[in-house]
Amino acid sequence: VVGRPTVAAISAEPNVEIRRCAIESLGWERFLTQAGAALIGTAADPGDPCQDLSLYEVPERLWGSRVNVLLAVNGTAERGGTRRRYGLTTPAEIRDPVAAAAWTYQLTKDQYAACQRRT
């Protein structure tokens, strides 16, 4: 599934770690598009206002449980100047991209919104 990642193979993979490797191999944006994930909302990232946070709803039949995916951009550029996009799974009840990012660090949305620097 990591070597030849497809949405069908990824959704059939029960191991979370292997599933994550396979999605990274396919690319998070391609995975979300091909999986039919619905965009819930987009917001500027408080820690890095030039970058966006996008929250997607992943179909339950695909993931095995209700979950959202927060697509964020790495705070530091890669060699060559590009920035890596990565996904994090967040609780389905949180429908706000900034609140979902805050949840990953056990912070409130207001606390996260005051972020001074993200690298």
Binding site: V16, G47, G64, S65, R66, V67, N68, N74, G75, T76, A77, E78, R79, G80, L88, T89, T90, P91, T104, Y105, Q106, L107, Q111, Y112, A114, C115, Q116, R117, R118, T119
Partner: protein
């Protein structure tokens, strides 16, 4: 205090970072929330310091997260030896509490250096939802 560049910090502490990161860029020192990849530096309200000061951060620093399969090391450094103290939390998402009398730094090979103003902070890892009722720690 004059601004310090990434190159000067690497020279002072000896913790190197990836070569494409700009050595001439100034590293700001902030007292608010800052995030270095999968670690958040969260300021604690004044007066919430614990009775114990913690362990002095040695000149070589303390790896608050060690390098592992998918992740890199985050190393905590005292601005001047004897001015930063570390109390580890043990396990889970909270890594521990930093008490710094002078600016301290958090170094990571991919993310560079984070400048932390004097004060008290919780260092906390990032998590994600793994299944319906389970969570996992993120490795960066």
């Amino acid at each position: 205090m004059p601004a310090v560049t990434l190159g000067q910090l690497i020279g002072a502490y000896g913790v190197d970072v990836l070569e494409h990161l700009d050595r001439d860029l100034e590293v700001p020192v902030y007292g608010g929330l800052q995030i270095q990849g999968d670690v958040a530096v969260i300021p604690l309200p004044e007066g919430s310091e614990r009775g114990e000061a913690g362990t002095p951060v040695p000149p070589a620093g303390i790896p608050v997260i060690r390098a592992s399969g998918g992740g890199h090391e985050h190393r905590l450094l005292a601005g001047t030896p004897g001015t930063a103290f570390w109390t580890p939390s043990g396990s889970g998402q909270d890594l521990g509490v930093l008490q710094a009398a002078e600016p301290a730094y958090l170094a990571h090979p991919e993310h560079g250096y984070l400048g932390i103003a004097s004060g008290s902070y919780m260092l906390r890892r990032q998590r994600e939802q793994a299944g319906a009722d389970s969570q996992r720690l993120v490795e960066d």
